[in-house]
């Protein structure tokens, strides 16, 4: 893994080992949060599709009813 670059008050330099470790830990947490959000959105879409299927609605009818 290459060392991340920081623009430090206008000057590019490689992050120190401590800075890079903190950055990678932060980035990993951000990736996990995005994954959670995407999964939640997918679950919500699946639940909506299941309800629409149960009600035998067309796509236009579902849009008119649910927005």
């Amino acid at each position: 893994m290459s060392t991340p670059i920081v623009n430090d008050n206008g000057v590019n330099r490689e992050m120190t080992a401590d800075e890079a470790a903190a950055y990678h830990a932060w980035a990993a947490k951000q990736a996990a949060l995005i994954e959670q959000a995407q999964q939640a959105a997918a679950d919500k879409a699946a639940a909506r599709a299941a309800v629409i299927a149960k009600l035998s609605l067309t796509a236009d009818e579902a849009a008119a009813l649910l927005g």
Partner: protein, 184 residues
């Protein structure tokens, strides 16, 4: 004499007139290219209470853009809370996050499609919580589908900060930023 801001050529400005200038550059426009983060230290001082960060950027991949407040060159990584609303085509979504390690201010661009964020920061240099709002125009891989992203939040730690770090969650970012202080 013309009343400011209708200045006339050769007019001598008084201190009282100059002190009414609303925005003061505390960090001149600074360009960055293909970096994971950007730091700006010694920008928040007792001279101003509130600030605005103007950020123009692209991201190389799908990482969103966030900030952390800094004190004496060290970024604070706890106690960020924010709520966002996102308008994308005909869809609107909202989400809230608490106790985060940074404050989100913008979404990814995923390529050379410029996005922009105007981030108002309220009281970062006070030993109180800092609040912020970010209005983000976002281009996720195309200019034909701009996304409207609005975030309001805070950093609840009651500490005085003098700087800011802007980070992208993956890949790199390219662009420029300027920070202004709001004159009171």
């Amino acid at each position: 004499m013309a009343t400011p801001p209708d200045f006339t050529a050769g007019q001598v400005l008084t201190a009282a007139q100059m002190n009414k200038i609303g925005l003061w550059v505390v960090k001149t426009e600074t360009a960055f290219s293909a970096v994971a983060s950007v730091t700006a230290d010694s920008v928040f001082t007792a001279d101003f209470t509130n600030y605005v960060l103007k950020l123009r950027y692209t991201t190389s991949t799908t990482g969103s853009v966030s900030f952390k407040l800094r004190a004496s060159g060290t970024s604070a990584s706890t106690n960020y809370n924010f709520q966002s609303i996102n308008g994308n085509g005909a869809s609107v979504s909202a989400s809230g996050s608490t106790a985060q390690t940074s404050a989100n201010i913008g979404i990814l661009t995923n390529g050379s499609f410029f996005s922009s964020a105007s981030v108002d920061l309220f009281g970062p240099q006070l030993a109180e919580a800092t609040t912020y709002t970010s209005t983000n125009m976002n281009s996720q891989g195309a200019y034909t589908a701009p996304i409207n992203y609005y975030i309001a939040g805070n950093h609840s730690t009651a500490t005085a900060y003098d700087g800011i770090e802007i980070l992208v969650a993956s890949g790199t970012m390219t662009g420029s930023y300027t920070i202004y202080g709001y004159n009171e």
